[in-house]
Amino acid sequence: MSTPYRLWEVQDRSNTGPFCDENDFLPKNFSPKLKEVVKKYQIKYDPKNPVPSDDDLADRVWQAGWELFREVGLYNTDTHRIIKAGDQEIKEALYMHPGEYWVGAGKDAVLWRHRQVEDRRTPFCLFSPDCTCSEELHYSMCLAYLKEPLLDGFCAPILESSIGQRIASASPFEINGSTQHIYNLRLAAKQVGRPGTFLVAVGTAEHDSGQIAVSNNEWGVRTTDARIIGTLSEFKTANTLLNRVVHCAQYGCYAGNLTGAIYGGWCGGSEGVAVTTVAYSLNGLLNYGAIFNQHFPFHLNWGSNTTRELLWPIAVAGQALSRNSKLLYTSNGFSNAGPMTEMVFYETACHALVSTVSGWDLWEMASARNKHRNRATPLEARLGMEVGHAAARQGLTRGQANEIANRILAKYERQAADAPLGAEYQDCYHAATALPTQEHLDMYRRVKDDLAGMGIQFPY
């Protein structure tokens, strides 16, 4: 199945589903139900073990997530109605997901397959800086990421301006910026000899008009590429998002569901984040027709997910999804520290390690809390992907990963609130050649050697 699940039956529920006042949806529907299922399924956060090895816990989180999704549904803020699905529909949609998709084109196409917990198959590696980027650096950054050996797919940085004009959402400048974005991306992919690379594009388009404007198999986003469609935190959508669902289905490209359950927000603590992440995957499958879910649960105050209160729900949710479905889902890292700091390397490594052994594929790395222009580089993502490959190939168990994760956490956890901002891309990469500086490479190597000393067996 490569089109959304029962597209028009689901869309119709925006008009026919139960009415709810928007002010009531989160405090009276979502939050109480989430608390109820966390209690009912006896889900308890264990800060000592960022990577639990408890299959029963993972299965209970799956059940809780299913119940949360079924009972709460997805709120459409434009129609004030709730899109709901029943057990039979959820079962049917899960059955229909094939568990694997060919993405990308030609020699660069990759078979993206569902992973098991402690799977020896390496994770699908989606490189993405996630940050905004100056116009003059955008092409160089695209090149730099596309040069990465372990890259299976790429999501380019977000352009801030185009032809020197600042891009504002829903304006003509956004359409212009989106066009420049995909041209840069496609040219960079061609120049590095990976023209068919799977692209998730275009991040510059926040509005549906910008997304739709660049759907074109000749020069734009191809049908072998993907779009990510957001869900508003928590469990809300809007017609501008559903427009994208319909467009992806009818254009024929892949859709992914982008979600970030907020630790400290309506999800509450780590338990709620784990359950909500699972529920979001079902939402993506049924309501967005997503072939994959792109999850970035994050800390309300820090905007990151590399500390243990976030690593635990990432691990548990991944195991829940892996053990109970064939779905595809990427774990999107958000570090506290910025590029060319040892901390960002350790954070990325830890996030990738925890995610990989828990059945996730990888989406690395939104550095410096994804808050600062040009502050992300391929090198921290490279290390994360190398950790993912190593952990899978050597067959690290969850218990072993847990021990290593605790050692890595000790390197940076206390600095989370006051993490160093690091450098901008152009200060640690040569913009002309799109290659890292020697100083940056040396730092990467030092951390990699340290991680090897902790038991991660890198192939090279």
Partner: protein, 211 residues
Amino acid sequence: MSVRELQQAVEAGDKDRATALARELAAKGTDSLKIIGALTEVMGQVGEKFSRLEIFLPEMMMAGAAMSAVVELLAPQLKGRKSGEPKGRIVLGTVMGDLHEIGKNIVKLMLETQFFEVKDLGVNVDPIVFIKEAESLGAQVIGASSLMTTTMPHQEEIINLLKDKGLRGKYRVVVGGAPVNQSWAEEIGADLYCPDAGSAPRMIGELLKPS
């Protein structure tokens, strides 16, 4: 029944108990301003706990709702009394093209429980609407939240429109949101960048102090 018990009921987010206790206290002659002062103090503590994530958003929202119910109950007795006046008037919204609300809603609650008057303009708010609503409310502050990098330029648009209308000196423009930072605030000429909801009442309070 005591003011302390009322504080505990608000902290626990027990709206029914809080309003019942407030009604009893008022009937027995407890000064409404004293009650409000005590609740402001406890909400400050609740806000601090939330800032440290010792409690989470649902708990803080429930405490805020309990306090709001008490304030509403006592409103007739507070009317016209100087100490019952807000610390400042603010219009607050998420900028055009952006549908995210959680950060803006937390800021609103934090400000309201510290006795700022806040008009919530919702999400996807046209820059000109921020200004019209500020004029209408007699606000001192325009608060603009952005959760997406591509919607941040609409924060700047508010400032540019204020300049074009000759109103820039009349309002303090405060910006915030996940992708927003100090350098962006400086770049667009905002008066204040609030890094988080917890610091908003203090920082905006400082901003409004006569220089």
